[in-house]
Symmetry: C2
Subunit: 236 residues, 2 copies
DNA sequence: GTACGACCTGCCGTTACGTCCGATTCAAGG
DNA sequence: CCTTGAATCGGACGTAACGGCAGGTCGTAC
């Protein structure tokens, strides 16, 4: 039989934790001395060992309590916990790659804007869509992505010029530019269903935020998008 | 300018979270209407995006607040967070393998005892020592481990017989048995420094618990260990 | 006798909000 | 203009697993 301090020291827990377990009924000492001091026996020690093990697996004390009562619950619970841990590991891994991508970014002063974009990205794309977009980018390779950015810039400039000079939406010049624009987008979208509409929503609702990362104003961008719509409508 | 409900819906947060951010001064709305309703502007929206991004990286609101104030703190903090995430990933991975080992165990009714042993194991070996022991077991292969268990059982029986029949500690029979015992232990211990003494402490302080998993009583085991000590002492 | 350590109960604090409350206030319809 | 339902307000309490502190009791050693 051991006092609470001895048990705590022997099992590398704390007196406070043991008292907490007693409070919530998870580990009641075998007996109390007449003056109220807790006395723990070997059976309590074993139960404590089990509790600490299950705790290292990330289970809540409530789960531990119920699994220790019901004799057959252990296997089911451990399997479930393994699944949870695997899921958490995947999430962690995704976070790590995202963070690494962010830190590998060229411009170290651009973190704040990058963070904004990531959150917006999260808000408009489902995780599956994000995965497919990332996979698509990876499949295309970094130089293809850079090249796409360049093409995108020149296309925006072209369309912007069309808007400014009042080129008709059914002109060959406008059609050609919009066709290239759509092809460029398609190269990144073919992998995931619904990414096109999500991109469009993000574009519509956040042109101000997006323009903050680009050399054009939100007004100009909205004009370009509207013009592209008109060109597609004229094309039929 | 948006109301709190609109902002919450647009950014997929909750009204309560936004009020919380306001409370702790993390995200104050640009203005209030005369009647006290919060009004958020584009600047608030951007700040919220940043906050949500950093939150997904597992940072506390306090860390986020300070990193958003100090201009250069972002890179340092993100790097630190990446390190933390990597560490957590390793821990999670270790937990997963441990759980998997437990679930791969032959006897499904033996979970509770296995959990006890794991906790004791944790209490007496440092993580590095545990790694080296596991690596050692893996290097030896499962059939070698099984064979060692068999040898261990017969050795205990032999020594137990010596104790019962009062064989002298300096007899050839006793010396031979103890030499084999030590060799068997050495096969598992050579990889990690300090594992021998840890094993010994665990053995000394928990013979009752250990005996619960073996076909001998704690009394008998303590007798065997003491006898082995005597034999080693006689050997010099 | 008293000093010291170990123990007791009870209460507040932690994180990032969720939930519920009663009291206003807004927007739309009759 | 009045009503009604939805949105908003501030405040309070709850969460998980303890940590830490206060004030009191107990046992032992000097």
């Amino acid at each position: 039989m051991w006092t609470i301090g001895q048990l705590a020291q022997a099992t590398r827990t704390t007196v406070r934790a043991l008292r907490h377990y007693d409070e919530i009924g998870l580990l009641r000492p075998t007996e109390r001395t007449p003056n109220g001091h807790r006395r723990y026996g070997p059976e309590d020690l074993r139960r404590l060992y089990r509790i600490r093990s299950l705790r290292t697996f990330g289970m809540s004390l409530e789960e531990i309590a119920s699994s220790l009562e019901v004799p057959g619950a252990m296997e089911t619970l451990l399997h479930a916990q393994l699944a949870i841990l695997s899921h958490r590991a995947e999430e962690l891994d995704a976070l790590k790659t995202q963070l690494t991508r962010l830190l590998d970014h060229d411009d170290p002063d651009d973190y704040l804007k990058a963070l904004e974009m990531m959150a917006m990205f999260d808000a408009y794309f489902t995780p599956e869509q994000q995965d497919s977009l990332a996979a698509r980018r990876e499949a295309l390779g970094p130089e293809a992505v850079e090249s796409a950015k360049m093409q995108f810039r020149t296309l925006v400039e072209t369309l912007l010029a069309c808007v400014r000079t009042g080129v008709a939406p059914d002109s060959a010049e406008a059609r050609e530019a919009v066709a290239q624009w759509d092809a460029l987008g398609a190269a990144f979208h073919t992998a995931g269903a619904g990414t096109e509409t999500a991109t469009r929503r993000m574009w519509d609702e956040n042109s101000e935020e997006i323009s903050a990362r680009m050399p054009w104003s939100a007004e100009e961008l909205r004009g370009v998008v509207a013009f592209a719509d008109a060109v597609r409508a004229a094309r039929g």
